[in-house]
């Protein structure tokens, strides 16, 4: 179709240029009851899963209905959400920091009707469009990343793994039977754009093969010294190699033994891809948290070093995640986050209760701090691992 100009003049890019105006001012977009009571809220309550009420000093109340969403959404989907907002909420809506959508209204009646309406909307193959839930001691939506949909470094997909995990944990999205909130995150490579590193359950894609060198093009595509310097383990050095056609070229040589497949070199140099259908997969980390509630924030810990990529529905992954969440739900105390529970019972007990194999991969060997994760004590519990 024909190119339609916006008015932009490529010959004079600075003509009429507007820049540095930033985002829209948020108060334009606040529902009136929120604007009126801004900073004057006094309490809240979750009336039902996915339905919150907040009460202000003025006595005003606002009811919020929260729904799950895939995050990777089309304008069609957004338009439908907007239409709902117009129908029930004077045309206001928001997203949460975990990709849920929130609809707010000052009327409980409206909220209830809204909830019913939202839960009734489905895609043609039957999945919910706007499942209500994600509040309180539930498994909320998954914070995640691009995966095979848009990124160049993933070792797994994000949208797909999110879909299958949420399918598996769906009841716990719409329900609040967990001991505490359960935050799941997916990142498709060690860059961890999903900030998995502090999640109750973190699903991280990663490579397990050293980079493959495209010797023929490397010297053209990359700054060899920069790529070499980027390797945190010093696994790279400059070298020369003979191409099949007899040409001798400058290239980079990889000491495979020292490579930890982090992909840093690939970020600097496209001639060093790591992706491999047979090598790539997922590392499962659990027990992180962000809030300062009771215990200080915690990093997630590696409990399953490798789960193969099994698209489209990653059965091993979903089974493991589900199992860990169930064991946690059955054993932890009220208010206890997954990591707090594991620390209370001891990680050896966690592995036993969750029936996980403890492999050498779970032992830290990255730099000096590794030492502090080993056990400098005779305090431990006897578990079946010791019989082994």
């Amino acid at each position: 179709m024909a190119f339609v100009s916006s008015g932009y003049n490529p010959a004079k890019p600075m003509e009429n240029r507007i820049s540095d105006i930033g985002p829209r001012f948020f108060k334009e977009f606040l529902p009136p009851v929120l604007e009126k009571n801004y900073g004057k809220w006094v309490s809240h309550e979750i009336l039902e899963p996915g339905l919150l009420v907040h009460e202000a000093e003025s006595g005003d109340k606002v009811y919020t209905v929260r729904v799950g969403s895939a995050r990777l959404v089309s304008t069609e989907y957004i338009r439908e959400a907007c239409a709902i907002a117009k129908q029930y909420c004077d045309g206001y809506l928001r997203w949460t920091t975990r990709n849920n959508i929130e609809f707010m209204t000052p009327s409980l009646e409206t909220a209830k009707a809204l909830k019913a309406d939202l839960n009734s909307r489905k895609f043609d193959k039957g999945s919910f469009k706007f499942p209500v839930g994600g509040t309180g001691a539930s498994v909320s939506n998954i914070v995640h990343t691009q995966g095979w949909v848009h990124c160049h470094t993933p070792a797994t997909d994000a949208s797909g793994t999110v879909k299958i995990i949420m399918d598996e944990l769906f009841d716990d999205f719409t329900n609040m039977r967990m001991p505490a909130i359960v935050r799941v995150a997916v990142a498709c490579c060690l860059n961890m754009c999903g900030a998995c590193h502090c999640s109750d359950v973190a699903v991280v894609g990663y490579h397990r093969k050293p980079p493959l060198i495209d010797h023929e093009y490397l010297d053209n595509l990359c700054e060899i010294p920069l790529a070499i310097a980027s390797c945190p383990t010093g696994a790279l050095k400059p070298g020369k190699t003979d191409l099949p056609d007899g040409r001798k070229v400058n290239t980079i040589l990889v000491n495979n033994e020292r490579c930890m497949y982090c992909g840093n070199c690939y970020t600097m140099c496209p001639a060093m891809p790591l992706a491999s259908g047979e090598g790539d997969g997922i590392v499962l980390m659990v027990g992180g948290k962000v809030s300062n509630r009771i215990s200080m924030p915690k990093f997630s810990k590696v409990v399953v070093a490798y789960i193969p990529n099994e698209p489209p529905r990653w059965p091993t992954l979903t089974k493991m995640v589900k199992h860990i969440v169930e064991v946690y739900a059955a054993n932890a105390q009220k208010y206890e986050r997954l990591g707090e529970w594991a620390e209370r019972i001891g990680w050896e007990k966690f592995f036993e209760l969750c029936d996980l194999e403890f492999t050498h991969h779970c032992i830290d060997d990255f730099r000096d701090p590794a030492y502090y994760t080993w056990r400098q004590s005779t305090q431990f519990k006897f578990t079946k691992h010791i019989e082994a």
Binding site: W148, M192, S276, R293
Partner: protein, 437 residues
Amino acid sequence: MAKHPTPLLDQLESGPWPSFVSDLKHAAEVRHKNPKGIELQIPEDVIDDLLGLLEMSYTDGTTHWKHGGIVGVFGYGGGVIGRYCDQPERFPGVAHFHTVRVAQPSGLFYKADYMEELCDLWDFRGSGLTNMHGSTGDIIWLGTTTPQLEEIFYELTHKHNQDLGGSGSNLRTPACCIGMSRCEFACIDAQHMCHTLTNEYQDMLHRPQFPYKFKFKFDGCPNGCVASIARSDFSVIGTWKDDIKIDQAAVKAYVGGEIPSNGGAHAGRDWGKFDIQKEVIDLCPTKCMSYEGGKLSIDTKNCYRCMHCINVMPKALRVGDERGASILVGAKAPILDGAQMSSLLVPFIPAEDPYDEIKEVIENIWDWWMEEGKNRERLGETLKRLGFQKVLEVTGIPPMAQHVKEPRTNPYIFWKEDEVPGGWSRDINEYRKLHQR
């Protein structure tokens, strides 16, 4: 009939969770039907080809996006992520498939009308696919071609009063929790602060001048609903200094079971009768609370302000009145040296518009980091390399025991030459007078 068969992706249409595959297929259909008769500026097949390419990834287990690609809008060093697929012949609709990061409003509130305007623009000049929202916080528009980038920017700024977000070695789009808009726990105006500082530092956001990326995030209280402590180089978190306000009658109502604990968050299971001793007093990390004779007391000077008691009894307990922020610095993902959470730099700082005290801290840190930071070194890594002491020096903050969880266990202490009488220069001959060889 779909352009490319997607037998694997089709399996992601079942199950209860919203299926992005169903959504994409539906969107592709609408795009073909084009009921509004839009003069599509990028290939009509863009979504079909995306699905086809993705099916290929699902088949061979690898990505089919090529490495990077430097595209953008004039004068900005960020806001667009270039992307090209490695199978352009088979999937020409996604041969170019760049991302546009649109700066989101603080707190992610929208008017439907405005959202729809944006959708119109994106259907017209892009794929119509989005992420609501990116992990940093932006509205992410997935998939357009290079020629459309300036057009999109022009329309955004001229028609929608809307700028791009960050990428590259820039300040990244700051983000915040919902804060005062709807949360009774907010100790600072996270949304306003986020908006104000975003605007204050537009230049840093759009023009790369840092060693690497830099992120602000603002949490209204220590619950951390925007996870600032985990994912921002500069984390501002609301807190308070004085007593937690206690409504003793409401405490009794909780004890009596008249109000559900934790705002009803645990209603999905029968946890038994609320037990204030077990559920609050014993779980307080500092054990600074007591409940005796029907009266709850908190020993403020031992309170960590962890929020637990307030979270459990939000109708009985309120954050104090002397409010401000804690500033923590240095969080980042694992690449290269392992993940970091932010470390406490300023225990308490006033946080009122225009936030001058906070800006001063930011600018001192930037001046130093721009000077000392290596290429691709996040603030946290600079801190690790040069020592936490350095950031205290450049911000003029005195060292406090609050800066550490525990003091150092090694006695490898550096002294400055002027701290040690006589300094470093000594005379070997003087020494030898007392110590024969």
